[in-house]
């Protein structure tokens, strides 16, 4: 139990921290509040507390959002990104999952060496090889194609390693029992292994989604055609346009953030566990 004195100190701390958090979040509050205002109001409100308060709810409340949705291809870019993320989640789970399973459970030549190689590849930052990958994709004539964007992103040493760490603790007798029922290994993987490892599948899916949604460098290299842009690149091309107002820009970046907020609130437990575990594993 807390003593009276400790309780008092705690309230002071809470109050101080609430003020701190408000200062910390002022850019976000400002972004959301002003995404509902025309530019004249944004400038007029700048000098007062009204800068952090949304305008009255009237017919023009969603004006900036509506003009972004109707006058730009932004919804299309959001759709593109969702599609790319979905493809990469499925392909990523199959390719990295199968590899992780092989490294965990199947005895094949040089297995330990491959594992070591995968662990070493985890260190290499993508920025090192992005030039050559761009050259490859360009030479293959795959610039401005979905395939060119997706192909280098499927395999992920970190996810292979993650899958391997989980699969290695799966019981072996289930596999033996399945073999007696003449269940082939591929079928066993998809009907038994993956369903038994829902947590890691969810973690990999969530982090793949966030990675694809927030990625900037690679899509900015591969896509120049406006039809295929991802949300982040589309955002940049729309704000670069002179006619886009400040309010519209704020509405745009709020919209890009909404899907990510949804994902975080649905999977906050897995994400926090994932974040904490990167620390405890390495530390």
């Amino acid at each position: 139990m807390l003593t009276k004195k400790q309780k008092g100190a705690n309230w002071v701390l809470v109050t101080v921290m609430i003020i701190m958090s408000l200062f910390f979040l002022f850019p976000v509050v400002w972004m959301i509040a002003n995404s509902f205002k025309p530019d004249a109001a944004i400038t007029a409100d700048m000098n007062s507390m009204r800068a952090f308060i949304p305008p009255a709810l009237d017919g023009n409340f969603f004006e900036n959002y509506i003009s972004i949705i109707t006058n730009t291809s932004f919804l299309r870019y959001m759709g593109n990104t969702l599609l790319y993320a979905a493809i990469l989640i499925v392909l990523g789970i199959v390719v990295n999952g199968l590899a992780g399973y092989a490294l965990a459970k199947i005895n094949f030549p040089f297995r330990e060496r491959w594992l070591l190689v995968i662990m070493m590849l985890m260190i290499v930052p993508t920025e090192t090889i992005i030039t050559i990958n761009f050259l490859f994709i360009a030479k293959m004539g795959l610039l401005n194609t979905v395939i060119g964007y997706i192909l280098p992103m499927i395999v992920n040493p970190f996810n292979i390693f993650l899958f391997r760490q989980v699969f290695i603790s799966l019981p072996d007798d289930v596999y033996e029992a399945a073999q007696l029922d003449f269940c082939n290994p591929v079928k066993y993987f998809f009907t038994m292994v993956l369903p038994m490892s829902k947590t890691v599948v969810a973690t990999v899916s969530v982090f793949t989604f966030l990675g694809v949604w927030n990625d900037y460098l690679w899509p900015s290299l591969v896509f120049t055609s406006s039809n295929l842009l991802t949300a982040q690149i589309g955002l940049n091309s729309i704000t670069a346009n002179e006619t886009t107002t400040m309010g519209q820009t704020l509405a745009l970046i709020t919209m890009v953030t909404i899907p990510v907020i949804i994902i975080y609130s649905l999977f906050s437990k897995q994400i926090v566990e994932g974040v904490v575990s990167t620390g405890s594993k390495e530390g």
Partner: protein, 300 residues
């Protein structure tokens, strides 16, 4: 014997798709980056490629722009690492202490992490604009307008502050995990000895968190080394190249000017730094594990 071959085939079949993709998009690019770093490979005229030995390595360290990018990156690291690392640690310690609204604080300080770099950069371009909200707020407490990202002296620190703001919540969560993992018995024992709050922090919290600190500070350093998106969106590397970074130089040299040879050399120099940092990290954290094992052994 037959069973052994069949499991080998099965293993390679499972590992195969990943191996093909790893080879094409990771091994081969790494190998080519290394090979090209010793040549003057120019992608628009590949026939004229010569082997230049260490020529590129000497060239980039005489190249004013690369040196500037290098110094900028180091400056960025020096600003952001203490800011973000200590900020995250401070927040975690405070939140760990607080008994009310804990959940609110965790979410509040994590919100910027959720936003992408492009979004945060676009937002802060508005915040930092000459007549923007930040200058207005500063004006109200009597500070004259600052140029922020539009001034050569302030641009890099401004981007560093923004990046620390964006990333801090992530390490805060890691530190909170670490704090919760500390054995409460240690504090109880210290309380029996009437240890002061500071003494408890210095003798229990800090030593227990030390390996996590090493991990967090090096992760931030590596992340800071890789910085490119913020200046790409906000400043285009300017004003007068004050926010131009190593990765930005690799990107422009390779994919804009098509000087793959030179870009590869820069990439190799860059990766050497990252690998050194990673080795230091593994070394420092492994050291701790061994010590722990020794401690346990002694106890027995």
């Amino acid at each position: 014997m037959k069973k052994k071959t069949s499991t080998s085939i099965l293993g390679m079949a499972f590992f195969g798709p990943a191996l093909v993709l790893l080879t094409v998009f990771l091994f081969l690019p790494m190998l080519l980056t290394l090979v090209f770093s010793f040549t003057d490979y120019f992608a628009l005229n590949p026939d004229l490629t010569h082997f230049t030995g260490l020529g590129n390595y000497i060239k980039i360290f005489k190249d004013e722009l690369f040196l500037k990018a290098f110094i900028n990156t180091v400056k960025f690291v020096l600003i952001i690492v203490p800011l973000q690392g200590l900020g995250a640690l401070g927040l975690a310690l405070l939140i760990n202490k607080v008994t009310y609204c804990k959940k609110y604080f965790k979410v509040a300080f994590f919100i910027p992490v959720v936003m992408s770099l492009a979004v945060v950069s676009t937002l802060w371009m508005q915040i930092y604009s000459p007549e923007g909200i930040l200058n207005t707020m500063l004006g109200q407490i009597g500070i004259s307008p600052q140029p922020f990202i539009y001034g050569a002296n302030q641009a890099l620190p401004s981007i560093a502050i923004m990046s620390a703001w964006q990333g801090m919540g992530y390490q805060m969560i890691i530190f909170l995990g670490g704090l919760q993992a500390i054995n409460p018995g240690l504090y109880e024992a210290a309380e029996m000895d009437h240890a002061s709050g500071w003494k408890k922090f210095k003798d229990i919290t800090l030593p227990e968190l030390k390996p996590l600190c090493v991990f967090v500070f090096i992760t931030i350093t590596i992340g800071a080394f890789r910085m490119i998106v913020q200046p790409m969106v906000m400043t285009g590397g300017g004003p007068s190249h004050s926010t131009y970074t190593i990765v930005y130089d690799i990107y422009e040299t390779g994919t804009v000017n098509w000087e793959i040879g030179l870009a590869s050399t820069m990439a190799i120099v860059f990766v050497i730094f990252v690998v050194i940092l990673t080795i230091i990290q593994t070394f420092l954290t492994r050291d701790k594990e061994e010590k722990n094992v020794n401690k346990k052994a002694k106890r027995r």
